[in-house]
Amino acid sequence: MNIAVVLRQVPDLIETLEIAGDGTCLDYGAARFIVNEWDNHALEQALLLKESRGGSVTVVALDFGEVDNTLYEASAKGADNIVKIPWDADQPPALRQAVALYAEVLRSIAAELILVGCQAHDELEGPLAPQLAFALKLPYVGVVRGVQPSDEPGSIRVFKEFPGAVVARMAVRLPALIGILAAEKAPRYVPVSRIRAAMKSTQIQEQEVSPPPTESLATVSRLYVPEAPQRAEMLEGSVEEVAERLYQILAEKGLVR
């Protein structure tokens, strides 16, 4: 099965996020980037499928943030082809523009299965995956925790997650685009030595795409850090002092004897 995976860069939320001068978007220049965790699970799921049934995995990414590191790591993990879409702007594309960019490249790849993270934490205009599926005229199921080959030719089985640890098993006819919440196994670890080796051997194919006009249908008027109506009472001191204070609180509330 030939599988395509979209890998996106997102700001690392462990770092402090800065707001750009106009107050309506993040200052991406000040951000540290990581791979979108749900896309990382999509890559893992693609590699698991390839290992069980053969085929190839093609990774598609926009040249934004620290994407080369992500792409070399994907190659070290087992991705067969790497396609990078040039992007010079300081900001990532608006969602509709991103859909058009990825769709054009994915059409040229003609994969039977496309796996994309079902969300990313910097999406204001809804998730990319279903909107990309619509642009490619492909069936879509998202919030999926695991994809398996099916005995039915030309189909896969997906496991869609619902609240309460309930999962719906669905059969999906290929070609299709699936929004991944989690792979069947945790994303694999690759040692730095293999990533370094991949940096020397990986051929990154750049595919120019004519950028479509930006046409967001919603306007951001302000971006800001939320002010909580209440904040926790912070317990200060050494770990031993705080542990003692917390014990007293729990005892006062009858939660420990």
Partner: protein, 327 residues
């Protein structure tokens, strides 16, 4: 349906409207009062007939009674709702940020070429414009947005609105699907219920919850020990379950369990909205996190800004020492 109406994509669970449906109904009613329209909850599938009578807060409930909608599949849902939006042209469609809403809402917006906003927490209508406050970057940022195009598709975070406690029973109308629903490329096969859990975290008085800050699977032993000393059980946020370190039955949040313990001790959990949704009923939340800006401190009563790997052993020791003294 009129151009001032607010539509709600309703969801059902065991013959009753889900919590998010009642929250969206309340939101829709507030908005409809501003637009001069009605709040209309759409329930898809035969179960909707049973659930409709339990809807509170809406003006109308529209049940689409068709066996093709009995089990959720994206395509028939999108087909029916597209027809309703195109024919009725309401001001907005509200969907929950749920497994169903995250499929259907963006597919609808793409199909109809209309605006969509995710993570909505507050929505107001004024001067023909919808003003929306949306959560961004896992709750670390908020964005104010304006939408003029109609209909707008708004994906609302659970917990953003309070369901109406009571109200006049809405008018219920049941119709067959207004569009033909043929079998498509996605076919529902089976609903898989969780295996009998070793521990039912929904019934625990004390929960020690772990997040990314636990760093390694081996460190879970620390949480297990702390839970044992406190007389509780260990649960986790989604990334820990995604790593396969704990089963899905131990996951707290939007796609996991909703818990109501007397004590929820959150270790290394940042507090993404999806996780906070699952702990709204907790009596006492204590959070341990190295990041002073972590959103979990916005909902916790007490906070500890320390590395859980340093703090948990100290707390275990203190608790054990106090028990020894008590003997």
């Amino acid at each position: 349906m009129s151009a001032q109406d607010i539509l709600v994509l309703g969801e059902t669970k065991q013959g009753a409207p889900s919590d998010i449906t009642l929250e969206l109904a309340a939101c829709a009613r507030q908005l409809a009062a501003q637009t001069g329209g009605q709040a209309v909850v759409v329930l898809l599938g035969p179960e909707g007939k049973q659930a409709a009578v339990h809807v509170v807060g809406a003006d109308r409930v529209l049940v689409i009674d068709d066996d093709a909608l009995a089990s959720y599949m994206p395509e028939p849902y999108v087909a029916v709702l597209s027809h309703l939006l195109e024919s009725g042209k309401p001001r907005a469609l509200l969907a929950g940020s749920t497994s169903v809403g995250l499929d259907v809402a963006p597919l609808l917006a793409a199909r109809l070429n209309v605006p969509i906003i995710g993570g909505c927490q507050k929505i107001e209508a004024a001067d023909g414009t919808l003003k929306v406050t949306a959560s961004f970057c896992a709750g670390k940022m908020l964005a104010d947005l304006e939408v003029s195009a109609t209909p707008a598709v708004l994906v609302v975070l659970p917990g953003s609105y309070r369901a109406a406690a009571e109200g006049a029973a809405p008018q219920v109308e049941t119709i067959r699907s207004p569009v033909p629903l043929e079998p498509g490329p996605v076919r529902f096969e089976q609903m898989i219920l969780p295996a009998v859990a070793d521990v039912d975290i929904t019934q625990q008085d004390v929960l020690v919850a772990v997040g990314r800050g636990i760093q390694q699977q081996e460190n879970l032993a620390l949480a297990e020990e702390l839970a044992e000393v406190l007389g509780g059980a260990v649960c986790a946020s989604r990334p820990i379950v995604d790593q396969g370190w704990l089963p899905l039955t131990r996951q707290v949040g939007k796609s996991g369990m909703t818990v109501k313990p007397k004590l929820y001790l959150a270790l290394g959990i940042s507090g993404a909205p999806e996780h906070l949704e699952g702990i709204k009923g907790a009596n006492l939340i204590i959070a341990v996190n190295t990041d002073p800006k972590a959103p979990i401190f916005d909902v916790a009563q007490y906070g500890v800004q320390q590395d859980l790997l340093d703090f948990a052993p100290a707390l275990i020791e203190t608790l054990r020492a106090s028990k020894s003294e008590a003997v």
